[in-house]
Symmetry: C2
Subunit: 113 residues, 2 copies
Amino acid sequence: LVPLSFAWSGDHVIIASETSAITTRNIVASERARLGLGQTRDVVMIDVVLVQNVSVREAPHAIAERYAEQADWDPRSSPGYAYLILLPERIQAWREVSEIPGRTLMRDGAWLV
Amino acid sequence: LVPLSFAWSGDHVIIASETSAITTRNIVASERARLGLGQTRDVVMIDVVLVQNVSVREAPHAIAERYAEQADWDPRSSPGYAYLILLPERIQAWREVSEIPGRTLMRDGAWLV
């Protein structure tokens, strides 16, 4: 469990993390992660699969620009960082108990809403 | 990674979770957990050890009352729930990169601030 900035490409979540960090190594090894956004009473949980792991030096310009714009931080000046491109498979969102029955918004990569 | 309500006793974090839930089973098995509070740019991370796992029916009155008051939800009407009493060992808090050097507020259970 670590706090990270992220960007959203429309299809993928993009995070940037040091290649040597435990977080990066765990995601690269398992090819899976769970992301949590929002607050105690307005929760978003996203189960993702890793689709690409690319160093900041070798990343496509569009990915780097998107990340810098949305995350308000540009890791291209930090050697040793990589972008992890993550594809959502399941998205759940709810405020409180009353919204738990309808909390799944995406399943197996397909939007339900 | 799951979203949970919690209460703070002054020394311990109290969460309530179904005894059969993966979260509960993982914490009971490992006797450890990492809690994340706050938001992307105002983070609190607490590494805790499990000190007590008590069903809602057998819990001391003071714990149940504290939890109900702070979490704004009372699991005593939900059979199968347990309180997990968690002792912080390490607490880290920071807003952005500038506060990372001083982010550790508790180490080995002792406040540094």
